[in-house]
Amino acid sequence: MKFEVFRFNPEVDDKPYYQSFDLDITKEDRFTVMDVLNAIYTSHDSSLSFFSHSVCNHGICGRCSVKVNGKVKLACTFMVEEDLVIEPRTNRVVKDLIVR
């Protein structure tokens, strides 16, 4: 599946851009958006910033939300069934998917 991920580092980028990642997964793997982000971070690009400290991973803390195809969802419970665009929850971006 293909994931278009919002990237922006205000220290070096003039403006945001989208980076595309291909992961070898299917619907049957039952990945959550958090699993996708972790897979990108672990195997493709460890400079990607998304909510990673203090992670409960079971929909408890409510801190991992991102926009998935335009709708705000908890990354750790939202099930991936198709290609997705993943963006920050609001436009107050600190870096990539992290907002203040």
Binding site: N9, E11, R30, S47, S54, C56, I60, V94
Partner: protein, 634 residues
């Protein structure tokens, strides 16, 4: 001079003047971006840190509470999936709760905690636990009521609640005190003025700024550590507080005792959930436990009876399921199966619906356990007729050595909750939630009393050194990444430190940890930006995680017996002749020094045991605090 000034002017315009400044005409890097001065610094936003801050504030101290996550919304406190309890006698007589079982007295609770610990509990710490806990338990329950959170009473004197509700209750209690709160800051090391702890240095995870905290006393409430691949814990659990206390010279103990709990291995989206715990003690829930070949793993009847009544069940499951994995009969990811194949789809439906209706909806929204969809899990079980269950490391008994006032072995440092050690010896059956609250509030009070009339010398030089070391990662050119380091820690731990240990396996794990430690001196970062650079945070955490795992393996190697949550395939007996002792580690001149200590006895004499078969020991020592509240409906 002029040039430096011009550059400084330019940086100021670009908003980067907090990173560089002009000193004696030269442009130098600013290592510390901010200074916070306080009297008592509580570290950790879980139950231990919050109650420590409250305890200290009530004694009139100026208090700062700093946390890696959000206060009341981080750590294992929000992962709580069950309950907390007091002795029934106090509930009945002191708080007038008529449904409470008044026969369960403080003495019974005390004796049970000590017996369940395989007699390694420090009895003065257990006394503090038993004596002081009713008040704080009841107060937290009142905060929950005021904050509109559900804490549901059950016998003997237990409240079921979610971690989320506990977090909200704690936030409510904290709001009533004058405490400065600083969140999303990871403390990296403690500051010392001679032999005394006098503050700490941390990083703001979002901005990357480095902060110096000057304090008269520090309370550690940073929780435990978790070195394995399978996780049921919060990602905060990297042993930071335990490791930094050790680096500052504090003694650690009991690091070999890691507690395991049945944990989902599949389906992927609920991996790490401890939902199967509810299958174990729900009388209407039927399943057979089998190995990878489908052969049943039989737990003898006497033990099965304990398993459904007491959290001692965790130890029984560790022993029988762990043995199956040890013998190579487990799943490829070291689990077993909960098998429903002799049930119809309707029966499986009924069983899950009963669990949801009679228990989970008390606390969670219909059909959910925390944010996990129990009905989706049910469908998976119906489709596959069996589901993989692993043993996840939920809790660490070991940590900072404390006394009954929560003083560590070094001046100015206190510890409470899961990062401490001593209350539960080798096996915890009573509540870790109570441990965090009763120790937190006491630690806060002790720290406030100590800090009265104390002068601090800000340890600026040491703060500079820590900051420099922390920033060194950005300069490393070649080395392994934090991601690789963590995967390697997990691989080594899964193999050598997991449920049934052997001399050979531990030797190899220790050697591999040591090799990895050397490689980790030069971890590299892909992004050079300090803004929410998790790889940087992970690099710092990996060092702590590795240190805790290594000390765990070292103590596990020393303990040539099986006791509590430490099982050895090559030393299967409980050996009271030689191992009724705690292992202590301390850093002396940069070298790990190991020693032993006998646990303190205040009330309950330690029996002269000799050497006993592990299971016989459990059956013959009046073990198993009866703290599972489903029993009444059985």
């Amino acid at each position: 001079m002029l040039l430096a000034k011009q550059i400084a002017g330019f940086l100021s315009k670009t908003g980067k003047d907090d990173l560089y400044k002009v000193e004696k005409g030269v442009l130098v890097k600013v290592l510390l971006n901010k200074v916070v001065n306080t009297e008592v610094l509580a570290i950790g936003g879980g139950g231990a840190g919050v109650t420590a801050a409250i305890g200290a504030a009530r004694k009139g101290a100026q208090v700062t509470l700093v946390s890696k996550g959000k206060v009341g919304n981080s750590g294992n406190t929000i992962m709580i999936g069950g309950s907390y309890a007091m002795d029934g006698h106090s509930a009945y007589y002191k708080f007038g709760i008529k449904e409470a079982d008044k026969e369960l007295t403080k003495d019974i609770l005390f004796n049970q905690i000590v017996r369940d610990s395989f007699y390694l509990s420090e009895q003065d710490i257990v006394e503090q636990f038993v004596e002081e806990s009713p008040d704080i338990i009841y107060e937290v329950k009142q905060w929950a009521d005021q904050a509109g959170q559900k804490f549901i009473f059950r016998k003997p004197a237990t409240w079921n609640m979610s971690g989320n509700a506990m977090g909200k209750a704690l936030q409510h209690g904290l709001k009533q005190e004058d405490v400065e709160i600083i969140e999303d800051v990871i403390i990296v090391d403690l500051l010392k003025d001679g032999d005394k702890v006098c503050g700490a240095v941390g990083i703001d995870i979002y901005s990357g700024e480095i902060i110096q905290f000057n304090a008269k006393a520090v309370v550690m409430g940073t929780g435990g550590y978790q070195p394995f691949t399978l996780k049921n814990t919060n990602s905060d659990m990297t042993g930071d507080g335990v490791a930094m206390a050790f680096r500052a010279g504090a003694q650690l103990a009991d690091m070999e005792f890691l507690l395991y709990l049945v944990t989902c291995l599949e389906p992927n989206e609920v991996k790490g959930s401890i939902l199967p715990v509810f299958f174990v003690f729900n009388p209407n829930f039927k399943y057979r436990v089998t190995d990878a070949n489908g052969d049943e793993i039989v737990i003898p009847k006497e033990l099965k009876e304990i398993e459904v009544k007491s959290e001692l069940g965790k130890l029984i499951e560790l022993y029988y399921y762990g043995k199956c994995v040890l013998e190579g009969r487990g799943t490829e990811d070291d689990g077993v199966y909960f098998d429903f194949s002799d049930m119809s789809e309707d029966e499986i439906d009924d069983m899950f619906e009963d669990l949801i209706k009679s228990f989970l909806t008390e606390v969670y929204k219909d059909g959910f356990y925390h944010g996990d969809d129990v009905r989706a899990y049910k469908e998976f079980c119906k489709k596959h007729k069996r589901v993989k269950i692993g043993l996840g490391n939920e809790y660490t008994h070991g940590g900072i050595v404390i006394n009954e006032k929560m003083e560590s072995s070094i001046e100015g440092l206190y510890a409470a909750g899961e990062c401490s050690s001593g209350a539960f010896g080798s096996n915890r059956v009573a509540d870790a939630v109570v441990e965090m609250l009763v120790q937190g509030i006491r630690a806060g009070k002790s720290a406030a009393e100590y800090s009265k009339n104390k002068e601090v010398n800000p340890c600026n030089k040491m703060a500079q050194e820590i900051a420099k070391e922390t920033l060194r990662y950005f300069e490393n050119k070649k080395g392994i990444s934090a991601v690789e380091a963590n995967l390697e820690i997990e691989r080594i731990s899964d193999k050598g430190l997991s449920f049934f240990r052997t001399e050979e396996g531990l030797d190899q794990a220790i050697a591999e940890y040591q090799q990895l430690e050397e490689k980790m001196n030069n971890m590299v970062l892909k992004s050079k930006s300090r803004l929410y650079n998790y790889e940087w945070i992970q690099a710092i955490q990996a060092k702590n995680r590795l240190l805790c795992a290594k000390l765990s393996a070292i103590m596990a190697k020393e303990r040539k017996e099986s006791r509590g949550m430490h099982l050895r395939a090559d030393y299967p007996l409980v050996d009271d002749d030689n191992f009724l002792i705690r292992h202590i580690a301390e850093l002396r001149n940069g070298v790990i020094n190991l020693s032993t200590k006998k646990p303190k006895v205040t009330k309950l004499e330690i029996p002269k045991g000799g050497k006993t078969e592990y299971i016989d020991y459990i059956l013959n020592n009046e073990m198993g605090l009866e703290n599972i509240s489903y029993e009444e409906e059985r």
